[in-house]
């Protein structure tokens, strides 16, 4: 069997294992669905509630968001041919954050539970449209610059919302959301994000062949029949759907998109197309692990996901810089 295929199977098995673990452990301890305890029907019902209504959707969201981040990171690194590219590059996660922040700021979240992810999604799509419009007609570099400009605009909007927050509670709510978390997310969050993440993932997976050819540079890729304009558009729309939907339910979660492709490259090779599937699986695995860890760490308050991935991700980033320094001439 080919080695990259074997790596994919290993990753898939680990994701499944971690997913089961993620349903079984949590704040209310290790639950055994096959042994609902004392035989008291109320406790059996409680166990069922915790498992099906709390932990199961949370596990599914972790898989979806992790896969979205890992895959879009791999695709963006392939498109830009830059190992430091990540899903935040095109202004899409900042757009999702701004949408969600507006919902929290205006108090929509209190009247309508899905207002935060729904506005987040709108923000992501709006940011993507703005980046596409700004960057259209130029090359990949222009697209990245457009993404940086849009990202700056969205972050300025968030800063404005924080500055103008009507009360300290709203400001706290906003910062708390920005730190990223999957706590207390239910099935409605799955239903609002999955219809965007799944087609987005398929769209991003379809770019493999073009990204492979792009390792030869834009001119050679074009000479091999790759439609670069269409490729850039596909990547942008796919990232808007996946990362936009993921960020709008989970808040901003850094480093997964950057790190996942680097973790799988030693095993599947450097061809951008071969890294896609494994990066999605690796992203899902990393986010599942991080989410389980946030629930197991014995702190009074649950540690936020974005904080944990940041704490674990930064040393990795530093190691990457050190290795680059050693291998670069």
């Amino acid at each position: 069997m080919k080695s990259h295929f074997r790596v994919g199977l290993w990753l898939l098995a680990s994701v499944l294992l971690m997913a089961v673990l993620s349903v079984l452990v949590g704040r209310s301890g290790f639950l055994e669905p096959w042994n609902p305890g004392t035989g008291d029907p109320r406790s059996a019902e409680l166990v069922r509630l915790i498992l099906v209504e709390l932990r199961l959707p949370r596990m599914i969201l972790a898989c979806l968001a992790g896969a979205a981040l890992g895959l879009s990171g791999a695709v963006l690194q392939g498109l830009t041919r830059n190992p430091l590219a990540d899903p935040g590059l095109l202004g899409i996660s900042a757009g999702a954050a701004l949408g969600a922040v507006i919902a929290i700021y205006a108090g929509f979240g209190l009247t309508f539970a899905l207002a935060v992810p729904a506005l987040g999604l709108l923000g992501a799509l709006g940011a993507a449209a703005l980046t596409l419009w700004l960057g259209s007609g130029g090359g990949t570099l222009v697209l990245i610059l457009a993404g940086a400009a849009v990202s700056g605009l969205m972050l300025a909007g968030i800063a404005l919302a924080l500055n103008m927050a009507p009360n300290p509670y709203a400001a706290f709510e906003i910062t708390h959301w920005m730190l990223g978390s999957l706590a207390d997310r239910g099935w409605d969050n799955v239903w609002v994000s999955a219809p965007f993440i799944v087609p987005g993932v398929l769209l991003l997976l379809s770019t493999g062949r073009a990204l492979d050819a792009l390792s030869l540079g834009e001119q050679q890729a074009a000479s091999l029949g790759v439609d670069l304009k269409r490729l850039r558009r596909t990547v942008l729309v796919g990232t808007a759907l996946t990362v936009g939907a993921a960020t709008s339910v989970s808040g901003t979660i850094g480093f997964i998109g950057l790190v996942a492709p680097h973790l799988v490259r030693p095993f599947c090779g450097h061809e951008p197309g071969r890294v896609l599937w494994p990066s999605a699986l690796c992203g899902a695995l990393l986010l599942l692990m991080a989410d389980v860890l946030t629930r197991l760490l014995p702190f009074d308050r649950e540690l936020n996901l974005g904080v944990l991935t940041g704490l674990v991700g930064t040393p990795f980033f530093i190691a990457l810089v050190l290795r680059l320094k050693r291998t670069a001439p």
Binding site: S215, Q219, D227
Partner: protein, 260 residues
Amino acid sequence: MTRIQAQGVSMRRAGRLILDDVCVSASAGEFVAVIGPNGAGKSTLLSVLSGLVAPDDGAIHLNDRALSDYTPKEMARLRAFLPQNPRCEWPLPVHRLVGLGLTPMLPAFGDFAPREIERIEAVLAACDLTVQRNQPVTTLSGGELARAMLARAMVADPAMLVVDEPLTGLDPRHAQDAARRLQQLAVGQGKLVIASIHDLNMALRCANRVWALRDGRLIADGPPTEVIQPKLLREIFDVEVSIFGTGTGAFVDFSPRQPI
């Protein structure tokens, strides 16, 4: 039989004429060397003839069909293009790099079929890359990388091969080696090869046709021994030139008469 024809091709960039009413044609079996000073429009002419850029004016026909009527995929199957200093951005093994040349023939998903793997191995052998087969491309020497890129261009067996400065930056042995391979493709295998070349002695020995450009205009078009003549070269390059000997063994010398 492959035949490309360009009529009245012009190209403007920022108000400057880069190609000015160029009319050329070439067909299978020819090795065309495009010569001229820097900024003469050689690279632009090559990308226009490859169908990568549409000219502002003029028409190009490949096999009596307008180039603009070909889809990028169709063109990708007919011609291979290598830009100046081709590079690979990821450390792929050499055989995977060569395989990228088959991109236009592959379906959207899936790996190579056995027939395609055979083809890759055959081209690797033909380009003396069997030893380097699994080596990461980023660790190859300049000469090896040039060979790998040529293998990448040849693997899909294109009828037309357009190469921008294939000999620049290679040491004498590798430059001769690359020139011989290109000539073999044209004369031996009946492909149409168009390459921009700075080394006129090499152009004299390996090409069977020369297009000379200056300021975007075609100054001369003919067999190397006719085009590479003192009067014409002085007009194209604006420097003194001496030519020793005759025929394809002649020697072009641009060295200044006085120490600089």
